[in-house]
């Protein structure tokens, strides 16, 4: 039955690939044009680098992580190009353009991923200004670039794809540096503040809109405060880190059918909601030449009521390992658990809301393999067993009455230069 559905997707896939090809062509054309412009202007010290990847997702029972996964989908790709220059020893300038397709919840345009002026006057102190990548755990700042990690999907307990765009960057300032010691290793720190206009195509805004809580929704995170500390310990390859972020969020729009009850207002009435969200992570990674062990913990604390509904605090964690038996091959596994209500890991409160208990958790066991064809190309495959439905989209039209367990297969081909 499932096999019979795949040809149907192949037809749709052709259309998707056509659109994707057009977008990737735009990026490549932009790259070539940019290279010509740089050459023409004789800016000999501008470096240009880029990446792109194309993936495939298939699940036996859930449309997770995106709509269309049950039929198999190729709406899963990203591409980026960056320009960097170092006009002086201490000044670093750069920007990166980025586009991504991730099912229906995706950025549909080429956007500014980051753009920074970075002045580092000492090893222990530097200043960045502009659109800056946001630290959250060890891997958030590089999560756009598929080729840099052995797995395709980062563990969803900490790196939830539904809210990816909310966590990527801020427009503001950052103070950073590395404190070097001979005996205790080194300490990398970052402290940043700024704001972030929330995307309506994915993240929290898309979630409240798709759940019909608020329609015509817009929102901003301001101010955002984030601190990050990574300790590169004296034990070679062991690093330990933590991040803490606090952000004030303001949403506005019109009460939707599901939001009318929460806000106590008729459908279509202008409504506002605001509050604070704290995001805290703790991380550990032990990386040697042939193997890596890694684990992270996340807690999200909400003081952010939507109408009369108080969002519960969420938590998640994962542990994983990978091995590299030869330089071009890496494979491994991780196990991840996520609870949208940290005080109800058994899912008991879900019953009162008319959901099955297993809507109270999202557990993911993954096996992954990465093959570096050469320094520029890599190919990855991945298999997940998912238990629980807490990670599925809030838009349940994608997954009406989802079952507790599912299998997800993913593959991806990536290129960078």
């Amino acid at each position: 039955m499932r096999i019979q559905q795949i040809p149907h997707v192949s037809l749709k896939g052709k259309l998707i690939m056509k659109r994707l090809s057009a977008r990737l062509f735009n990026i490549l054309a932009l790259t070539v044009c940019a290279a010509h412009v740089v050459t023409a202007a004789d800016f000999k010290h501008v470096d240009i680098h880029g990446f792109l990847s194309q993936g495939f997702l298939w699940s036996d029972r859930h449309n997770y992580p995106i709509a269309g996964t049950k039929r198999g989908t190729t709406q899963f790709n990203e591409a980026g190009i960056n320009f960097t220059s170092e006009p002086t020893d201490k000044l670093h300038l750069g920007l990166q353009l980025f586009t991504r397709t991730f099912g229906s919840t995706s950025e549909t345009h080429i956007g500014l991923d980051w753009a920074v002026a970075d002045y580092r006057w000492k090893d222990w102190g530097g200043l960045r200004a502009g659109r800056i990548k946001r630290p959250k755990g060890l891997y958030n700042e590089s999560r756009d670039v598929d080729q840099l990690r052995p797995m395709i999907l980062l563990p969803s307990s900490v790196y939830n794809e539904q809210f990816r765009s909310d966590d990527l960057s801020i427009d503001g300032f950052s103070v950073y540096g590395t404190l070097l010691t001979q005996r205790l290793g080194s300490f990398e720190y970052q402290a940043m503040t700024g704001s972030h206009r929330l995307s309506t195509s994915d993240g929290v805004l898309a979630s409240v809109e798709s759940a019909a809580i608020v329609t015509s929704v817009s929102g901003v995170q301001e101010p955002v405060y984030i601190g990050s500390l990574i300790w590169n310990t004296p034990l070679r390859g062991l690093r330990v880190g933590g991040t803490a972020g606090q952000q004030t969020i303001d949403l506005k729009g019109n009460a939707g059918p599901a939001g009318a009850f929460l806000f106590g207002a008729p459908v279509g009435t202008a409504v506002k909601s605001g509050g604070r969200v704290g995001i805290y992570t703790a991380s550990i990674e032990y990386a040697q030449e042939k193997f890596t062990l890694f684990s992270e913990f996340l807690r999200q604390a909400y003081q952010f009521p939507i109408g009369n509904y108080a969002i519960p605090d969420a938590m998640g964690w994962y542990i994983g390992a990978s091995v590299r038996p030869i330089d071009r091959v890496e494979f491994g596994s991780y196990y991840s658990e996520y609870y949208p209500n940290e005080n109800d890991t058994a899912g008991n409160t879900q019953i009162a809301q008319g959901n099955p208990k297993y809507n109270g958790w999202g557990k993911d066991t993954a096996l992954f393999g990465k093959f570096d064809i050469n320094p520029s190309w890599s190919f990855k495959v991945e298999l997940h067993h998912l238990n629980g439905t807490a990670l599925l989209s809030y838009d349940r039209s994608f997954n009406p009455n989802p079952p507790q367990h599912s299998i997800l297969f993913a593959s991806k081909l990536s290129y960078s230069f």
């Binding site: 920007l95 070097l180 590169n232 004296p234 070679r236 042939k290 062990l293 491994g332 596994s333 960078s416």
Partner: protein, 143 residues
């Protein structure tokens, strides 16, 4: 389920790690003749290789350069950065694509690397033992 997976993973890692015993080549650390030190520590080399230490103690920029490939390249990265060449490349791509840094320049041959280090103030790199290092300063490496 989670515990079983963790135990299996640790077992796989242990078995494969025990099979790894690469042959080592000898790397010599070289720098521009005017750099203000005669020795560097292993911790310094790790921090320099990973871009955490960018300045000599007099404030001059450290320009770190690498070989493109080969046993000396592998040995240097393994000993001082605890990374394979692929991991080292991924590390710098991560810095590059997150707007935090630029990968070190690399050279196909020891002679080209020595020539660059000799001509570039603050430069530091490594070559195979036995390479002609007359134009540069050879730094000793402490713990």
């Amino acid at each position: 389920m989670g515990r079983k997976v963790a135990v299996i993973m640790m077992g796989i890692v242990g078995v494969l790690a025990s099979l790894v015993c690469p042959a080592l080549a000898k790397a010599v650390v070289v720098a521009h003749k005017a750099v203000p030190v005669d020795s560097v520590s292993a911790a310094d080399l790790r921090d320099i290789a990973l871009g955490n230490k960018k300045q000599w103690k007099n404030g001059d920029l450290i320009t770190f350069v690498t070989l493109s490939s080969g046993p000396v390249h592998e040995e240097f990265l393994k000993i001082y950065a605890a990374k394979s060449p692929v991991q080292f490349s991924s590390y710098w791509k991560r810095e590059l694509f997150s707007g935090k840094g630029k990968p070190p320049r690399h050279f196909e041959s020891e002679a080209a690397l020595v020539r660059f280090v000799a001509e570039t103030a603050g430069a530091l790199g490594y070559v195979a033992d036995g390479t002609d290092t007359g134009a540069v300063k050879v730094l000793s490496v402490g713990q």
